[in-house]
């Protein structure tokens, strides 16, 4: 008998609390901090997880709360760190930031078996190919998150540096120290 009362009361409690949560979720909803949206817009959006957070949005939220440094995103490099620091008014220490290498994945066609594992994990659908057919990477869509390289069983997918052509060549920043010495 008491078991019945226990079951009824706990179920009722569960239903009531669930209802309250639902109502609270609708009427007490916390609007997401707009600055979080702005930070997320700056980020590469590849959800690669190299920052230690499970995606770009959680990283943006952590930044907005001041829980993460502006240099947390390796693919963004120092350019992104500066933009975030400027947006949030944070301190910036660029000492340990490495510039991201411009990489792109490439399929070495000789060893591709058409297993489609890479196709399934690519977050931007940059790999084209059908089962048992040789796959290829659409370079413009590749964001160099390296997931395909990790799952490829024959290691035919490798990361290559993006080729510098006359179109994307840039002038280097003249290098100087504070006192004007130019290190060679």
């Amino acid at each position: 008998m008491y078991v019945l009362y226990a079951i009824i009361s706990l179920t009722g409690l569960g239903l009531l609390l669930g209802l309250l949560l639902g109502v609270a979720g609708k009427y007490l909803k916390v609007e997401s901090n707009p600055v979080v949206d702005e930070i997320e817009a700056l980020m590469p959006g590849s959800q690669c997880g190299q920052c230690g957070f499970p995606g770009c949005r959680p990283a943006a939220e952590a930044l907005a709360e001041g829980k993460a440094p502006a240099t947390l995103c390796p693919p963004g490099g120092s350019a992104l760190a500066e933009q975030i620091a400027a947006l949030l008014g944070m301190e910036l220490d660029l000492k340990d930031v490495q510039e991201p290498e411009a990489l792109v994945a490439k399929v070495s066609e000789g060893t591709c078996t058409g297993c489609t594992r890479c196709f399934k994990v690519c977050p931007t659908d940059a790999i084209v190919g059908a089962p048992k057919q040789i796959h290829a990477v659409v370079a413009d869509a590749c964001i160099a998150c390296k997931r395909c390289v990790e799952v490829c069983p024959t290691e035919c997918l490798q990361m290559h540096p993006i080729e510098v052509t006359l179109r994307n060549w840039r002038w280097a920043k003249p290098r100087t120290t504070m006192l004007g010495e130019v290190p060679c």
Partner: protein, 357 residues
């Protein structure tokens, strides 16, 4: 095949002007006035000058070493030497050695290096040091030696001068007196009027520089010549000196015409103290003055106004140091509001309208 590795852009040829050349030309311009001052005030002045200049260079070397950078290239650009020289010019000629050393230290360390070195300072280092010395050591900084030219009979000998610089000046009244401006100020406080005060004033003597004053600032003639030469060499532009002097002349003329008993005439203003030194050499310092010509006119006018106000109504007989420091703090503001107009845009930065046919 010739191979030159690093891509080089932009102008491959240059005007062959360098920082050390600019500093060198400024030093050349102030040499006549300084040399005259050293001759007029004898050995103590020479010692003070050498100590000030040397300690300026040594302080700079010390700071560079602290930063961990090679010292020689920085010293060779001549900026520390010039700062020390300009500071020395504004000191009382028989001041003790530690005034020179302290002044150099303040100028180089607090006035320049803590900001980040050459080109980064907000205030004119020489003026910063001079004002700090004036406020901290008012006695030593207002003890003006009589004109005791080198090798004249009544001037102190080498040994005596050594004593004066390193042990301090005894028997003050025999050797010192007031400068023209200082004398005028004290007489005003006793309610005398100008014609009586200026009975012994000789404009010609003041013009040549045979009068009491700072080490290098007595000779209006030599300073003026040096300044005009520097403008001709295009090291400095005419805007600051002309606007500074013009403002002083206009204000002093107006007041002098209204009440010539209580307001000093413009000629005396121009002839006195550090007016020309500040106008040509100190206010025109590149780092602390505005970048545009119109901005420089505003800067010069502001300096002139402040100098006149402090000289006439302030507690100090000479106000140039304060005036320059105050205008230095206004320089970023002047630069913010007075900017050149970009070709093809209006003053607000928007593209021009296409003219109707």
């Amino acid at each position: 095949m010739i191979t030159y590795h690093k891509p080089a852009s932009g102008a491959h040829v240059g005007a062959n002007k360098s920082v050390s050349q600019i500093m060198g030309q400024v030093m050349l311009a102030i040499t006549p006035a300084t040399a005259f001052g050293l001759v007029c005030f004898g050995w103590p002045a020479i010692f003070l000058f050498l100590i000030t200049v040397t300690s300026a260079v040594l302080f700079e070397a010390f700071c560079i070493r602290l930063k961990g950078r090679p010292v020689k290239p920085v010293i060779m650009d001549g900026s520390a030497l010039l700062t020390g020289w300009l500071l020395a010019m504004t000191l009382p000629p028989w001041a003790p050695w530690w005034i020179g050393v302290t002044g150099s230290g303040l100028a180089i360390i607090l006035g320049k290096q803590v900001y980040g070195g050459l080109g980064q300072n907000l205030f004119n280092p020489a003026m910063l040091a001079r004002v700090a010395l004036l406020i901290s050591f008012p006695i030593e900084m207002t003890t003006w030696a009589n004109v005791s030219p080198l090798f004249f009979a009544h001037s102190p000998s080498f040994a005596e001068s050594w004593q004066i610089t390193f042990s301090g000046l005894q028997n003050l009244d025999a050797y010192t007196g007031a400068t023209t401006l200082g004398y005028i100020k004290t007489e005003f406080s006793q309610n005398h009027i100008l014609p009586d005060i200026l009975q012994d004033y000789s404009a010609l003597q003041n013009f040549i520089g045979w009068t009491r004053g700072s080490l290098g600032e007595t000779s209006t003639l030599l300073l003026g010549l040096g300044g005009v030469w520097l403008i001709r060499q295009k090291i400095i532009q005419w805007q600051i000196p002309v606007s500074l002097l013009a403002t002083v002349v206009v204000l002093s003329t107006t007041f002098h015409l209204l009440d010539s008993d209580h307001y000093v005439s413009p000629f005396l203003h121009l002839n006195s103290g550090s007016m020309l030194c500040v106008a040509f050499f100190i206010a025109t310092d590149y780092v602390t003055s505005p970048n545009t010509s119109a901005g420089q006119c505003v800067f010069g006018a502001g300096c002139g106004l402040l100098i006149f106000v402090i000289r006439t109504w302030g507690a100090y007989p000479e106000g140039a140091g304060f005036a320059v420091l105050l205008m230095n703090s206004a320089t970023p503001l002047i630069d913010y509001y007075i900017k050149p107009r970009i070709y093809g845009r209006d003053r607000q930065g928007k593209p021009l309208e296409i003219p109707k046919p």
